[in-house]
């Protein structure tokens, strides 16, 4: 290959990402189609996502608002609903990310298109799922009596940062998962574990000082915190934004490097 191989690989990865971003008609339609296909022929369609979340929030609130939520069922319901919506986004994106290119093998071998399209399709699909689930949140916030704070808008850039992180992470995990078939089950195990150690259905204060590092070092808590706290009229913890930004930048660099290194070989792996 002419010129420096590494430079050409980085340029190739950049072109792949740019070409994918320039085709919103492709990943946009594919993501929508995924959602349609998943719920094809069902009575509620994608609204099953909403119904499912409503049921879980109701049950968790009934059981845990007392022991874990400080006793205030109204604010606990909003807290747990926002946390679950975000966690479903994180968990689905990481798990589906680890199988990203294996699942798209037929397309990759037969239809030339930028590889990044598959990651954008996944993020778009899961963002649509999030929108369906999120319709529950405004009524729950009203119900909880939380006054909208002046900083509530910061939840939006925080959510976009989370989507950017998940995009890069799914690209990275997808490339690793195509080469090493252990990656998908490992990710599935870890996300399950992380659900319990991340404050989603319990409050971070419950940890006490001795175990506060569990949240301080958990980037997933940081992402949940920067979206959830402003919506609940609170300030995120001091370390959350720096941690989330660092995680997003690191994932972005790692995902891009993986794309540069593996892009030309991936069609042989799937």
């Amino acid at each position: 290959m002419a010129g420096s191989g590494a430079l050409a690989a980085l340029r190739g990865a950049g072109q792949d990402v740019a070409a994918a971003l320039a085709r919103p008609w492709l990943w946009g339609a594919l993501g929508w189609n995924d959602l349609r296909q998943r719920h094809a022929g069902s009575w509620l369609g994608p609204l099953w996502i909403t119904a499912n979340l409503a049921l879980i929030v109701a049950c968790l609130t009934f059981v845990f608002a007392g022991p874990l939520g400080g006793g205030d069922a109204h604010s606990y319901a909003a807290y747990v609903a926002i946390g679950l919506v975000l966690w479903q986004l994180i968990q689905a994106s990481l798990n589906e990310g680890a199988q990203l290119f294996i699942a798209a093998a037929e397309t990759i071998r037969n239809a030339p298109m930028p590889l990044t399209v598959h990651a954008l399709r996944l993020i778009w699909r899961n963002a649509l799922v999030l929108l369906h689930a999120a319709v529950l949140i405004p009524p729950l916030l009203l119900f909880s009596g939380v006054a909208p704070s002046a900083t509530a808008w910061t939840a939006l850039p925080a959510l976009l940062l989370l989507l950017g992180f998940l995009f890069a992470a799914s690209l990275l995990l997808g490339l690793l998962g195509a080469r090493f078939r252990d990656v998908a089950p490992i990710v599935a195990n870890l996300t399950q574990l992380l659900f319990f150690v991340t404050p989603i259905f319990w409050l971070p204060e419950a940890l006490g000082h001795g175990r506060a590092w569990l949240t301080a070092l958990n980037p997933f808590f940081a992402f949940v915190d920067i979206v959830r706290a402003p919506l609940l009229g609170e300030a995120p913890m001091a370390g959350s934004w720096p941690m989330a930004l660092a995680a997003a930048v690191l994932a972005g660099l790692a995902g891009f490097a993986a794309l540069a290194g593996a892009r030309r070989r991936l069609p042989y792996w799937v």
Binding site: W25, L26, N33, R109, A111, W269
Partner: protein, 247 residues
């Protein structure tokens, strides 16, 4: 202006045995054995070797060869799906490559609803295919089936739909694998007329098939692949296996 140029193209497939696909196996191999084994003992299958090919506007190339000779791999390499480990692939002109018919179909939706999905997977945006939808529907002769879910379609019907969509917006480079032979005689004739309407002077066609009749009708030159290498070049009739040449 359409052009395809391959020079010294080699494609190899890595063959992963089970332990190389697992993280633990990979770590152990890397720590202990990889340095000794170098690359020499990693299993690789040579799929294409030293392929040179020059095609320009108006060329209609037939790919001939036994199963496993490398026809589909060559098509995928021209399409840019497989990156060669050595050699150079250059291509200019809008590419439509149809290796397998029906890529991107949603089986639960109608043929009509699937037209934009098929087009997208061929690199054609929905806005570009929309003006052609009526013409595509008429050409396929699927009648009322166009509103039925695609999972009820036969292979021949999917072939008709795929071919109509892939040729609706005249491609400058059209790569077709063996699936074209699935269609019935009526389809073959219609497809030939459709192809001939745009593969005149301004397009390139590369067609892989085992059907001598199809290849002789559609193509004006041929290469025969054996073991991933070009074994012969020349007129289609001369390169076909004897059984077909006399037919």
């Amino acid at each position: 202006m359409a052009r395809i140029s391959l020079a010294g193209v080699c494609v190899e497939f890595p063959v992963y045995h089970a332990s190389a696909r697992s993280l633990g196996g990979f770590a152990v191999e890397t720590a202990l054995g990889r340095r000794l084994r170098k690359d020499g003992r990693r299993a690789r299958v040579a799929a294409l070797g030293d392929v040179d090919l020059e095609l320009a506007d108006g060329d209609r190339l037939a790919l001939i060869g036994a199963n496993g000779a490398g026809k589909t791999t060559l098509l995928r390499t021209i399409a840019g799906i497989y990156a060669p480990i050595r050699g150079r692939v250059e291509r200019s002109g809008r590419l439509t490559s149809v290796i397998t018919p029906g890529i991107g179909l949603n089986p639960d939706r109608s043929g009509l609803a699937n037209i934009p999905l098929l087009a997208m997977h061929l690199g054609i945006p929905p806005a570009e295919i929309r003006p052609h939808v009526d013409e595509i529907v008429a050409w396929t002769e699927l009648g009322a089936f166009i509103d039925a879910p695609v999972r009820t379609y036969s292979a021949g019907m999917i072939t008709r739909l795929t071919f109509a969509v892939s040729t609706a917006v005249a491609p400058e480079i059209l790569l077709l694998d063996e699936w074209l032979g699935i269609g019935d005689a009526g389809f073959q004739l219609k497809a030939y007329q459709r192809m001939a309407s745009f593969v005149g002077v301004s397009s390139i066609l590369v067609l892989a098939s085992h059907s001598g009749e199809l290849l002789r009708g559609w193509c004006d030159r041929a290469v025969r692949l054996e073991g991933g290498r070009i074994a012969a070049r020349g007129p289609v009739a001369e390169l076909l296996p004897p059984a077909f040449a006399s037919a």
